[in-house]
């Protein structure tokens, strides 16, 4: 294992994060705070409770997931797309590194950034609502798994993208709708039965549900199923990345 190389990529990527700390951190925190004001305070005051939980607290796990998903995806996709764009990817490809090491370096950094932002948002939310976390260890596990698996997805998108437009396309057209329709702001049980069935095809439903369970001990789908779905998604992304590096698809000439 070329640990020095993993470290080099990780540190280099993290230094980009700290170089653009304002953009990296302030903007997601600011937009999440606005969600709290609009949905939690303004609209939420008209909604009493969802499944016995005050609405302001109910949306916290969903909001964190919303940001963490988009951040993990966009950080990882940009992280690998940028070297492709400026050509420094050739140095990575000519280094004595395996695909796993390259992936760990980039995905690890992107996941760390997303995790960091997620934790900051969680801390921010304590300012807005009364919150107790029932299963903190599971909460952390769900958060880390989500960061890693969506950073893997972002990594794939970054390799796939041929230009900046494509790089924005998937997060915009796929991830954002999935997250908004994934029960971030409502319980799936509030939907008509037909839409409930459709929702179960949305992977984000399982993420949000499992994550919400770790906060409040109740969820739309069983916690074990949520966990299984995340792990399945993770394995799927890993498989795709393994294939990409084996064939050199969109990487090697």
């Amino acid at each position: 294992m070329n640990l020095a190389a993993i470290r080099a990529i990780y540190v280099f990527e993290m230094s980009r994060f700290f170089r653009t700390i304002l953009q990296s951190l302030i903007s997601p925190v600011l937009s999440t705070s606005l969600y709290f004001v609009v949905f939690g305070a303004a609209i939420g005051s008209r909604i009493d409770q969802v499944e016995g939980i005050p609405y302001g607290a109910f949306i916290v796990p969903g909001l964190i997931m919303l940001t963490v998903l988009t951040q993990a995806t966009s950080n990882a996709s940009f992280g690998i797309y940028f070297p492709k764009f400026i050509g420094t990817i050739n140095e990575i490809l000519s280094a004595p590194m395996s695909f796993l090491e390259i992936t760990i370096g980039y995905v690890g950094a992107a996941a760390t950034k997303a995790l960091f932002i997620g934790l900051v948002i969680l801390a921010t939310s304590f300012f807005f609502v009364d919150l107790t976390i029932l299963h903190p260890v599971w909460m952390a596990a769900f958060l880390v798994l989500t960061c890693v698996s969506f950073a893997l997805l972002g990594f794939i998108i970054g390799i796939w993208a041929k230009n900046f437009e494509q790089l924005q396309l998937v997060p915009l057209l796929v991830i954002t709708p999935l997250v908004f329709l994934g029960g971030s702001f409502y319980s799936i049980t509030m939907l008509p039965p037909a839409w409930q069935t459709i929702s179960y095809f949305n992977p984000v439903v399982y993420l949000v549900s499992g994550f919400r369970w770790s906060f409040f001990g109740q969820s739309d789908v069983a916690m074990g199923l949520s966990l299984a779905m995340i792990l399945l998604f993770l394995a799927l992304c890993l498989g795709v990345i393994w294939w990409i590096f084996r064939t050199g698809w969109r990487l090697r000439k």
Partner: protein, 313 residues
């Protein structure tokens, strides 16, 4: 002879669209030499380097570096190689010393700030260590690329057109750097289409065109073997046309009629020089000056690639 540091056998690279960039390349590169890989644009120079360095996947054939197969034993093979790419590819907003340290890390070497500083100083970048890449001049960026390639102390260094679009002064500076690396025992392969460059610094020259190596030869031997000389005779009085008497010679008269150029082969048993001069004097012409010139590698090269094109496929 010692084992070559880079051994390439029957290397084929076919792209998805069916284009064959390398059509069975065989090449041995000796440890410690400077080999110039010479060829026109699209000859396969960069593809060959990319295949050795692991950027392009070969379709067929084998490459070993330091005895290690570049596919099966890629870690050990690549650890020996440094690559200076043709395009300036650098993270723009990172500091110089950090991008160089990053390269060292990628190749699995422990952090060594002193070495990074030494490498940068040797490339006259000692005072730019904390400068962001984006603030450097074009020539400095190229030297940062070299520093990155040297950061892990490679034994084989590939320079892909290191002096393309670089001014004369900087080009000479680059040659000095290459000469110093050779003194340190680094094997250097550089691609170029500046023949002057290959002639000036290479121990051996490999000519590549159309995905094939046309020849590999000692620079001096190549020059001598294929060398043609030209003798230019400056005339004291302009000559209106070539006299009948000189028609048998491979002569050309300049437009102003003031000089004659005679091309001859130094390898030929008879160069015809003596006979030409006496015939010339017999026409009553007065000779003002005589100069001879060895044909440059450029002319040799053009001749070689033309032969290749004319040869049946």
């Amino acid at each position: 002879m010692a084992d070559p540091i880079v051994r390439i056998r029957d290397l084929v690279k076919r792209y998805d669209d069916g284009f064959e960039a390398l059509k069975g390349v065989d090449l041995d590169i000796r440890e410690g030499e400077i080999l110039a890989l010479l060829g026109p644009n699209g000859a396969g120079k960069t593809t060959l380097i990319s295949a050795i360095c692991g950027i392009a996947q070969p379709t067929g054939g084998t490459i070993t570096v330091g005895g290690h197969d570049t596919v099966r034993d890629y870690r050990r093979a690549r650890a020996l190689i440094g690559l200076v790419p043709q395009e300036v590819t650098l993270e723009p907003f990172e500091q110089v010393a950090r991008t160089v340290a990053f390269s060292r890390g990628l190749f699995g070497k422990p952090r060594d700030p002193a070495l990074v500083e030494r490498v940068l100083r040797s490339l006259s970048l000692g005072d730019k260590m904390r400068t962001k890449v984006v603030e450097l001049s074009g020539g400095m960026k190229r030297r940062v690329l070299i520093a990155k390639a040297l950061a892990h102390e490679p034994r084989v260094l590939f320079l892909d057109e290191p002096t393309a679009g670089v001014d004369v002064e900087l080009r000479r500076g680059m040659w000095d750097v290459v000469a110093e690396l050779k003194r340190q025992g680094v094997t250097i392969i550089l691609t170029t289409h500046y023949i002057e460059e290959a002639e000036a610094i290479a121990d051996r020259i490999a000519v590549i065109n159309g995905g094939r190596i046309l020849l590999v030869e000692e620079t001096a031997a190549l020059m001598a073997r294929m060398g043609q000389k030209q003798m230019t005779i400056a005339l004291a009085d302009p000559m209106p046309a070539l006299p009948e008497r000189l028609a048998a010679y491979d002569l050309s008269l300049s437009q102003d009629g003031r000089s004659l150029t005679y091309t001859f082969d130094t390898r030929a048993e008879r160069t015809g020089l003596t006979r030409l001069l006496s015939d010339l004097l017999a026409t009553g012409a007065r000779v003002a000056d005589v100069t001879t010139r060895q044909s440059s590698l450029e002319e040799i090269f053009v001749g070689l690639t033309r032969q290749e094109e004319e040869a049946p496929a």
